[in-house]
């Protein structure tokens, strides 16, 4: 659950994220956004905190943007219902935002000089996708994962290697002392046409490697480090390779990488190398804007409102795809 007050679609007056990581950490969860009853309990407090930090009384709000999906329906409904009620009470327009378009909007929120067209690589615990972004248009999906998201792969590999949560930083930390060439894991889909991704086979290959080594005795720290490094190298290579392909085939020289995995240091370094080699510009929003937050939803909502989009109070939430949006 998160709330933010944003002025003009670009200026963040406040951004509050109700962290639930602590609550769910013992379960090795992926995204700390689980229990809708927690949302019911904290939605008012989070919104009030955002207003207070911004120093903006609620009657000064001019519009409400709220996430409609995709995600866990129960949690989405809490936010959507609250947003509808608030917009109704204040008599201001409401617009439903696609969570992934929110992530993409974080790029322009972080860098006001960013100008379309550009390619957006979205890498998170729930999604992995490439978009082409044009001014004043809905982001065009070029390709997405056919099975697991890359962040999910990191989380599940962390579980296989008995590392901590969240899995991304845990795998990266373990990988630092490992040999990325120790195991030649597959790079799924990279030689196929199109822009889709697949990380399930890579996860399976890691599971098989863990099993193979475990049969010879318990995994030592060196085993864990080598597998983590080899996995990370494979996953990152897939992301970098697909992004380069998209830039080349779409004839675009600008890339932005958003979503939680954009914080990965190996991804940043290898993408920066690729940018030098291929001659494109790349930017990464700061981590606070890469992980789930409400400021990016406000930014995406502002773009929609500027185009004249409005939603009625009958807007429904959705678990996958693009629903009614």
């Amino acid at each position: 659950m998160a709330a933010a007050v944003v002025r003009g679609g670009t200026e963040i007056l406040s951004s509050v994220v109700q962290g639930q990581v602590e609550v769910h950490e013992p379960y090795g969860g992926v995204v700390p956004e689980l229990a809708s009853r927690d949302h019911v309990r904290c939605v008012s407090a989070v919104v009030e905190a955002a207003l207070a930090q911004a120093g903006v009384p609620s009657h000064e709000l001019t519009a409400i943007a709220v996430t409609a999906g995709p995600g866990l329906i129960g949690s989405l409904l809490v936010g959507l219902s609250f947003g509808k009620a608030l917009a109704y009470r204040l008599g201001v327009p409401m617009v439903g935002v696609h969570h992934l378009n929110g992530h993409l909007a974080s790029a322009e929120l972080a860098d006001a000089s960013l100008r379309a067209p550009y390619i957006g690589l979205l890498t998170s615990g729930g999604h992995t996708a490439l978009y082409r972004i044009e001014a004043d248009a809905t982001p065009q999906l070029l390709g997405e994962t056919r099975d697991d998201a890359v962040g999910e792969a990191f989380d599940k590999v962390a579980k296989l290697l008995e590392l901590g949560f969240p899995g991304g930083p845990a795998v990266s930390a373990a990988a630092e002392s490992g040999d990325a060439a120790a195991v030649r894991f597959p790079r799924p889909m990279v030689n196929r046409a199109g822009f889709d991704f697949s990380f399930s086979g890579l996860k399976t290959a890691v599971a098989l490697e863990v099993e193979r080594r475990a049969e010879r005795g318990a995994l030592g720290a060196a085993d864990v480090a080598d597998i983590a490094a080899s996995f990370e190298a494979a996953a990152i290579e897939v992301l970098v390779s697909r992004a380069r392909q998209a830039l080349r085939e779409q004839g675009i020289g600008r890339l932005t990488v958003v979503g939680g995995v954009a914080a990965n240091r190996r991804l940043r370094a290898e993408m920066a190398n690729a940018a030098v080699e291929d001659g494109f510009e790349v930017s990464f929003p700061p981590p606070a804007l890469c992980t789930d937050n409400a400021a990016m939803i406000a930014a995406a909502g502002s773009q929609l409102l500027a185009r004249g989009d409005r939603h009625g109070l009958d807007l429904n939430s959705f678990s996958r795809g693009s629903g009614p949006l």
Binding site: D148, K156, S319, R320
Partner: protein, 174 residues
């Protein structure tokens, strides 16, 4: 019932045959197996057998539940209990709302919440019986009359259409 799959394609095809064996008013399928066993692949095959584009079926770990409307008016609900810790969280994810006529429910990691699940169901366990990377063993057990009929139908389809004789398990309770 026990079935040996020698490739991801065979697993997907077997799941497609299960789709064709399900009753019109829906059934609960519980799918278990370790990370990387092929649970989401099985879900893709089931969805394909129900007329859904398998490429649209992705891991539901993030959203917990993905729903697909079928051409015949039925609905497929693909759930993932991986991130859920309790039956209460399963309920919070909207599980009870899915228990309506015409909904086929496939839940991964659902064996962790057996007490919260309807009794009439098929449980499918995917395992890796040896070191062959693509070899999977599927063990399916029905509990309840509707599930037993569907499982028997699935078994006969596997024999007939894939041409492999599913091994009979040593013992089964449904």
């Amino acid at each position: 019932m026990r079935f040996h799959s020698r490739s991801p394609d065979a697993t997907q095809a077997a799941a497609g045959l299960l789709a064709a064996s399900l009753p019109g008013d829906g059934l609960l399928l519980v799918l278990s197996g370790p990370l990387g066993a092929g649970k989401t692949l099985f879900a893709k095959g089931l969805a394909e057998g129900l007329g859904v584009d398998p490429e649209a079926v992705t891991s539901p770990t993030f959203a917990i539940c993905s729903e697909y409307d079928l051409a015949d008016g039925r609905r497929l609900a693909h759930l993932d209990g991986y991130r859920l810790e309790s039956a209460a969280e399963l309920e919070s994810a909207g599980f009870l709302d899915l228990l309506v006529t015409g909904t086929i429910i496939l839940i991964e990691w659902g064996e962790r919440f057996r007490d919260a699940l309807p009794a009439d169901r098929i449980e499918i366990q995917i395992s890796r019986p040896d070191e062959t990377p693509t070899h999977r063993r599927l063990d399916a057990v029905a509990s309840g009359p509707t599930a037993a009929r569907a499982l028997a139908e699935w078994g006969s389809k596997l024999v007939g259409e894939i041409g492999r004789q599913p091994e009979l398990p040593e013992e089964k309770d449904g």
